[in-house]
C-alpha cells in the first residue's frame, strides 16, 4: 500500500509538469498582458517597457517558464503583478479559508441530504417519494447556480430581508459566530444543490444495483430487519462507486465555487481566479492552476486509497 502511494505520487510529477507547461502557454496566448489592463493610457511606451522588464515579461516565454518553475520549486509563487507586489502566497492564504469553509459546509450539506434520500429511493423505487426525489434532483441539476443564487438573494435577502445579500461577515462589525453562519447559509445551500442532486442520483442507482445482489437476499434470510440489511450489508457496497464521485469533487473545492462566490461576493479562491484571469495576473493564475492540479492528483489518489479501504477485494 505504501509503495503504491509512493509510486502514484512519482507518477503524478510528469502530469503536473504537463499541466503547468500547458497552462503557461495558454495564458500567454491570451491577448494582452498585465500592462495593457492596469496602465494609464497616457503612459509613455518607455515606462511600459521598464515595467515589463521589471516583472520579466520581456523575456522569451520558455525563459519565463523556467524562471517561474525554479522559483516555485523553492516554494516561491512570486508576487502579484496587479496588486503591486503582494506575494501570491499571501493572496491565496487570505482567500483559501473562506473557500474551504464554504465548500466543506456545502459538501456536508449535500451528503447529509443526498445519501439518505438516494438510499430511500433505492429501497422503494417507482413510488411517489422516489418520483418526487427524482424530479427534484433533475431540477437541481438543471438549475444554473448563478440563477438560483440570484433568485434567493432577490426573494430571501432583498424582499424578505432574512439573509444578508453577500460577503462573509457584516462589514466593520465585531466577529460573531451567528453572523458568520448567517452569511454562510445561502451560498452554501446554492452550492450544495447541484452536488446534492447529482449525489442523490448516483446513490440511488448504486444502491438499487446493490439491493438486487444475492448477498442482500442472504442477509434478509438471516432474519435482519430491512433497515439493518440496507445499512449494514448494502451501504458499504453501494458506497464503493460513490467514492469516485468524491474523488472528482475534491478539486472542485478550488475552482468549482467561482460562480457562486461571484454571485454572493464571497471572497474566496474562485473569485480570485476570475479576477486574476481578467487582469492577466500571471503569477496568481499559475499558482492557482498548480494548486488545482495538485488537488486533482490528491483527489484521485485518495479515491484509490478509499477503494481499498471499502473493498477488501482490491489490493495494491
Amino acid at each position: 500500500m505504501v509503495s503504491y502511494i509512493i509510486r502514484r505520487t512519482i507518477m503524478a510529477i510528469p502530469l503536473l509538469f504537463g499541466i503547468t507547461i500547458l497552462s503557461f502557454a495558454i495564458i500567454q496566448a491570451a491577448p494582452g498582458d498585465p500592462t495593457s489592463l492596469m496602465m494609464d493610457p497616457s503612459m509613455k511606451p518607455s515606462d511600459k517597457e521598464a515595467f515589463r522588464e521589471r516583472y520579466g515579461l520581456d523575456e522569451p516565454i520558455h525563459i519565463q517558464y523556467i524562471t517561474w518553475l525554479g522559483n516555485m520549486a523553492q516554494g516561491d509563487f512570486g508576487d502579484s503583478i496587479i496588486k503591486r507586489g503582494t506575494p501570491v502566497s499571501e493572496l491565496i492564504m487570505n482567500r483559501l479559508p473562506n473557500t474551504l469553509l464554504l465548500m466543506l459546509v456545502s459538501t456536508i450539506l449535500a451528503i447529509l441530504i443526498a445519501i439518505p434520500f438516494g438510499i430511500y429511493s433505492a429501497m422503494r423505487p417507482y413510488t411517489k417519494l422516489d418520483y418526487t426525489v427524482t424530479v427534484t434532483s433533475f431540477l437541481g441539476v438543471a438549475t444554473p447556480n448563478f440563477w438560483l443564487g440570484l433568485m434567493l438573494i432577490m426573494f430571501l435577502s432583498v424582499t424578505l430581508g432574512w439573509f444578508p445579500t453577500g460577503g462573509v461577515a457584516t462589514l466593520n462589525a465585531d466577529f460573531s459566530l451567528w453572523d458568520r453562519i448567517h452569511h454562510l447559509i445561502l451560498p452554501a445551500f446554492v452550492l450544495a444543490v447541484a452536488d446534492m442532486a447529482a449525489l442523490t442520483r448516483y446513490t440511488r442507482s448504486s444502491m438499487m444495483d446493490v439491493l438486487k445482489q444475492d448477498y442482500i437476499r442472504t442477509a434478509m434470510s438471516k432474519g435482519f430487519k430491512e433497515k439493518k440489511v440496507v445499512l449494514k450489508h448494502g451501504l458499504r457496497n453501494g458506497m464503493i462507486p460513490i467514492i469516485t464521485i468524491f474523488g472528482l469533487m475534491l478539486p472542485s473545492f478550488i475552482g468549482g465555487a467561482a460562480i457562486t462566490e461571484r454571485v454572493f461576493a464571497w471572497p474566496g479562491i474562485g473569485l480570485l481566479f476570475i479576477e486574476s484571469a481578467f487582469q492577466r495576473d500571471y503569477p496568481v493564475i499559475m499558482a492557482l492552476t498548480v494548486i488545482s492540479a495538485v488537488f486533482v492528483v490528491i483527489g484521485n489518489l485518495l479515491a484509490d486509497i478509499l477503494y481499498a479501504v471499502f473493498d477488501p477485494r482490491i489490493e495494491y
Partner: protein, 328 residues
C-alpha cells in the same frame, strides 16, 4: 412423527399490470421432523417461489401470498407480522442458495457474517459469538477455521463458500433448512461433499431439509420423500424408493427417462416434448396435457386432483391413476 412444516393450498401470485401470474398455485406439502424432502421440477415450475414463500421473502410488490397456510410447528407463518417473521428467519428456518459465489457479502469477513447471526438471534456477546463461529466453521470441515474467521469471501472457492453458507445457516441450530439448488453451481466432486455434509448435519441436529433441485441424482442420494412440481402445482408425491421404482405421473416418468444411464445403450436420451408453458399461458385442464404422451380428451378439459394412491402412501395428480373422476 409430527409435521414440522405443512403447506396447505399455498398460492403465491405475481401481480403484473396485465395479468395475475400464478407462480405457485395451490401447493400442499408436509415435512416431518428430521425428514429430508426434495422438491423437484424444471425451471419455472414454481419450486423456488415455494421456498421463498416459506421464508416470506417473495419480492413484494409484485409477489404476494394470496391464499393458503404455511403451518410451521402449528403456527401460520402467513399471518405473522414482519417483526415476528424476522425472529424465525435465520433462527428456526434458515436457507442456503444456489450461487455460493455471490451469496456472501464481499466487504464483510466470513467471521462477521456468522457472528452477526449469533449475536442477533442467540443474544451472544461478541467473543462468545466468535468462539461459536470458529466451531461452526470447524463443523463444516474447515481445518484452519481460526484464521478463516478474519478472511474475506473472495479468497474462497465456490465449494468453500457454500460450506460457509451452511455454517451460517446451521449456526442457530434451525429446525428447517431450505436449500435452493445448493450444489447446482458446484463441481461434481464438491457436490457430493456438500450433500454429505448436509446429510450429516441434519442427522446430528435433527434438522429437516427442504431440498430444491432439478437433479434427480441428488434426490436419490439424500431425500426421504420427493415432491414433483409442474406449473406451480404438485403433480406427484412419494417416498424416494417408491418414486424411483415406479414413477406414476407421466411427467415424472419423462423426467426419469431423461437421466442418462450407463447400463442402457441408447443413441438418444429420451426427452419431454415441448417446454414448460409460462404461467400466463397455463393450459386449461391438466397442465401437463399438451406435452403428455398419454393425454386423452378429459385431460384437456378438466384439472385432475392430487389423489391418494396405493393406500395413501403416495399421491399423484393424473387421471390415469386412482379415482378416475376426481377433478380439482
Amino acid at each position: 412423527m409430527t409435521a414440522l412444516l405443512e403447506l396447505k393450498n399455498l398460492k403465491t401470485h405475481f401481480m403484473k399490470k396485465k395479468a395475475n401470474i400464478p407462480a405457485v398455485d395451490g401447493v400442499d406439502l408436509t415435512i416431518q421432523k428430521g425428514e429430508t424432502v426434495a422438491l423437484v421440477g424444471e425451471s419455472g415450475s414454481g419450486k423456488s417461489i415455494t421456498s421463498l414463500s416459506i421464508m416470506r421473502l417473495i419480492p413484494s410488490p409484485p409477489g404476494k401470498i394470496v391464499d393458503g397456510q404455511i403451518l410451521f410447528n402449528g403456527q401460520d407463518l402467513v399471518t405473522l407480522t414482519d417483526d415476528q417473521m424476522c425472529k424465525i428467519r435465520g433462527n428456526d428456518i434458515s436457507m442456503i442458495f444456489q450461487e455460493p459465489m455471490t451469496s456472501l457479502n464481499p466487504v464483510l469477513t466470513i467471521g462477521e457474517q456468522i457472528i452477526e447471526v449469533l449475536m442477533y438471534h442467540q443474544k451472544l456477546n461478541k467473543s462468545q459469538a466468535r468462539t461459536k463461529a470458529v466451531e461452526m466453521l470447524e463443523l463444516v470441515g474447515f481445518s484452519r477455521a481460526k484464521a478463516l474467521v478474519d478472511e474475506y469471501p473472495h479468497r474462497l472457492s465456490g465449494g468453500m463458500r457454500q460450506r460457509v453458507m451452511i455454517a451460517i445457516a446451521m449456526s442457530c441450530n434451525p429446525k428447517l433448512l431450505i436449500a435452493d439448488e445448493p450444489t447446482t453451481a458446484l463441481d461434481v466432486t464438491i457436490q457430493a461433499q456438500i450433500l454429505d455434509l448436509m446429510k450429516d448435519l441434519s442427522k446430528k441436529y435433527d434438522t429437516s431439509i427442504l431440498l430444491i433441485t432439478h437433479d434427480l441424482g441428488v434426490v436419490s442420494e439424500v431425500a426421504d420423500k420427493v415432491v414433483v412440481m409442474y406449473c406451480g402445482q404438485v403433480v406427484e408425491e412419494a417416498m424416494v424408493e417408491d418414486l424411483f421404482d415406479e414413477p406414476l405421473h407421466p411427467y415424472t416418468i419423462g423426467l426419469m427417462g431423461s437421466i442418462p444411464s450407463l447400463d442402457d445403450d441408447l443413441d438418444r436420451l429420451q426427452s419431454i416434448e415441448g417446454n414448460v408453458p409460462p404461467p400466463e399461458h397455463f393450459p386449461q385442464g391438466c397442465r401437463f396435457a399438451p406435452r403428455c404422451p398419454h393425454a386423452f380428451d378429459k385431460c384437456r378439459s378438466a384439472l385432475p386432483a392430487l389423489m391418494d394412491v396405493e393406500g395413501g402412501s403416495r399421491k399423484v395428480r393424473c387421471f390415469l391413476h386412482g379415482d378416475k373422476e376426481a377433478t380439482s
